[in-house]
Every structure is written in C-alpha cells, then in structure tokens.
C-alpha cells in the first residue's frame, strides 16, 4: 500500500483549489441557485441562514450575494470546526463588501447541542463526508428549521470521484470513512420519513493533469483520495490513473470525468411523513 498521509490543512486547501480550477461543479451550482433556487424563496424581507461545514466560505459568499439581492435583512451563521478555514472565511467576508444584518462564524463541529434553531435556510454543502453521524446531522438540521424553512444538501452522487473512491480509497489509505454519496442520503431521508426533492446537476472535472501525472494532477488526485499520495505504491497509483482514464471521456485530447452534483431540497412543512 505504501505510506499515505492525511492532508494537512494547507495541503487540503491547495488540493481543493486545484480541483476547483478544473471542475465545472461550482458554476453548475451557481447557475442552479440563480435560476431555480433563489427566485423561489424571494419575496420575504428577512431570513436566518445556517451554513454547516462552511470551510473557507467559497459557497457561502456566492449564496450570500444572491440571497441579498432578494432578501434585504439577512442573518448568517457559519459553523466549522477548522479555525484556520474560519479565519480565511472571515477575511473574505470582510473584503467582500457584503452587508448582512448579522454574520458570525462558530468554530465548532455540528452536533446536537450546537445551538438554538429558528433558521429559514440551512445548507450542508459537501460536508457530510466529515460528519461521523450523518443521520443525526440531517435530522438535527431539519429540526433547527422554522416551519416552511428549507434544508439544502449538495453532495456527490455515486458517479465520478465516488466511483474512484469506491474502488481505491480503502486500498490507498486503509479506510473509507469519507465514502458517502447521494445514494446514502436518500436512504437516510427515507428512514427519517422526510419528503425531499432531488436533482442532479451536470458537471465535469478535467482530469487530464491527473493522467499526465503533473504537479496539478497530483494535487487533484490527492483531493479525490482525501490523502497525500506521495508515498503511494507506484503500481497502485498507475492502477488508479488507469481507472480514471477508463471512466472519463476524451474530448479533443483532454479527459473529462463526469462528476455530477446531487441536490436535495427539503422543505419543513410541520409533518414528517413521506
């Protein structure tokens, strides 16, 4: 298996940025928010938003800007246990020029005793991988909503990166704790008897750099496998890259991995029935 190390916070940030630079996912999410989501919740004067696992605020800064166009009195709470990410988010917020009614970042993991509810919108964007009890997290998030409030979950489907992770995560790093897809979320929502809307956004990752094994490609592959693969056994690395090539499509000499984004949209209507 070789010696595979966890990513440090700085390495994770570098790998995530490398991934972002070759992924169309954020653009697809932004388009969905602008066309389908934000217009549907407009018309209210105020709203309280909770972002769970806010990270460095990439998604939240986009969402804040869009919501402010529709909702003038916006209170925003961000929750993330990683203090260095929170500092970056806070700096970015201060420099954004956005004027929210209130904004706070809480450096805590999301758990049952986190804080009082009363939110109109809660989102879990690509963070459930890192929460040990995902069912509790979804149930708790739902419970923190006001009646009529919305829980939004963006998460990977079993396609794309998840296909590679299913095949190689355990072999590469010895466990597959982060392996969790929209399929698992559907099962949880059914168990919780929560009504939900589901859609899949088309997005791709240009994995040509991974296949060419250059520095950017190595960072992207590290992001896929949630670890620093520097010490990975060469034969296993070759196998992963070969599999990546197999599941990607070739367009004009570049390789694109279909990595769609699953969206769950759950409205709290006071009932818990399917």
């Amino acid at each position: 298996m070789g010696s595979v190390k966890p990513l440090t916070d700085m390495e994770y940030a570098e790998c995530f940025n490398a991934f972002k630079s070759v992924s169309s996912e954020w653009m697809a999410i932004e388009e969905w928010l602008a066309k389908d989501f934000v217009p549907s919740i407009g018309g209210r004067k105020s709203a309280k938003v909770l972002s769970i696992g806010s990270g460095t605020g990439d998604f939240d800064l986009i969402l804040m800007r869009m919501l402010l166009d529709e909702i003038p009195d916006l209170s925003y709470t961000a929750l993330d246990p990683n203090e260095s990410h929170n500092e970056i988010f806070l700096d970015r917020y201060k420099n954004s020029g956005l004027q929210l009614a209130s904004f706070r970042i809480i450096a805590k993991p999301f758990c049952e005793d986190s804080f009082e509810g009363g939110f109109d919108l809660i989102h879990l964007t690509h963070c459930l991988y890192y929460i040990p009890d995902r069912k509790m997290a979804i149930k708790r998030a739902y419970d923190l909503l006001n009646p009529g409030g919305i829980l939004l979950i963006f998460h990977q489907t079993p396609l794309g990166i998840n296909e590679i992770q299913r095949a190689y995560l355990k072999r590469a790093k010895g466990h597959e704790k982060e392996l969790f897809s929209s399929y698992d979320i559907i099962q949880i929502l059914k168990e919780l008897k929560l009504k939900f809307n589901f859609d899949i956004l088309i997005s791709d990752v240009d994995v040509t750099d991974c296949i060419n094994e250059n520095d950017i490609g190595k960072k992207i592959l590290n992001f896929f496998m949630e670890s620093n693969l520097e010490g990975l056994d060469g034969a296993l690395r070759d196998e992963i890259i070969c599999a990546l090539k197999d599941v990607s499509r070739n367009e004009g000499g570049r390789y694109f991995l279909f990595h769609p984004s699953g969206i769950f949209w759950i409205k709290k209507d006071g009932s818990m029935q399917v």
């Binding site: 396609l159 589901f198 088309i202 599941v247």
Partner: protein, 112 residues
C-alpha cells in the same frame, strides 16, 4: 452499440442495444442532439437491448433530459435490463427519469 430510430405519432423512438460506454455514447449523444435541435422535445428511449451503461452514457441521457425539460418535454425510458436498472437506482436517476415497461405505455403518457 446499435441504434434504431422510428417515429409514432410524431414522437421519435430511439432503440438502443449493446453497451453505452465511453466509446459508443458519442453516437447516441449525436442522435439525441439532432432530435432536440429539430424541436423534438418528447423522446422515447428504448433501452431493452442495453446490457451496460457507463457514467459517460448516463451523462448523455441526463444532458438530453435537461435540454428538453425547459420546453415541457421529457425523455421517457423503456425496458431497462436489471443491471442497467440497478445503476439507475444507485445513482438516483430513477428519481429524474420515468421508466416504462413498454414503448406503448411511454407513448401513451405523452398523449395525456
């Protein structure tokens, strides 16, 4: 992969057999895009003969669905083999596509 096209009551029926994978899916994509570009927003896609579909193939189907939906269209799927149905269920595609046991039933739903 083999693709046959017919039309009943102005609704195109595209029947596919074999493997829809990274090599073959481009042909299916071309045909579906041609139909959509001819303003055909109601399409029946018969997958009875499909024994395998890769993520690249799923992308082609989803892309077609996303293109026709704004025009109140749909891509109705017919007769999925167990392996293909399982792929659709695991990926959540069964929540986006309606699947019918026969072409007649899919066509009937377009008439409603």
């Amino acid at each position: 992969m083999e693709i046959n096209q017919t039309k009943i009551d102005d609704v195109p029926i595209v029947s596919v057999s074999g493997r829809i994978d990274g090599t073959t899916s481009k042909d299916l994509e071309t045909i579906l895009n041609e139909l959509i570009n001819q303003d055909m927003s109601k399409i029946v896609l018969d997958l009875e003969g499909v024994v395998y579909i890769s993520s690249v193939g799923l992308r082609v189907l989803l892309s077609a669905l996303k293109k026709v939906r704004p025009n109140k269209g749909d891509v109705k799927l017919v007769s999925l083999q167990p392996f293909v149905r399982e792929v659709f269920e695991i990926t959540g595609f069964t929540k986006l596509f309606t699947i019918y046991p026969s072409q007649g039933e899919a066509l009937g739903c377009f008439k409603v």
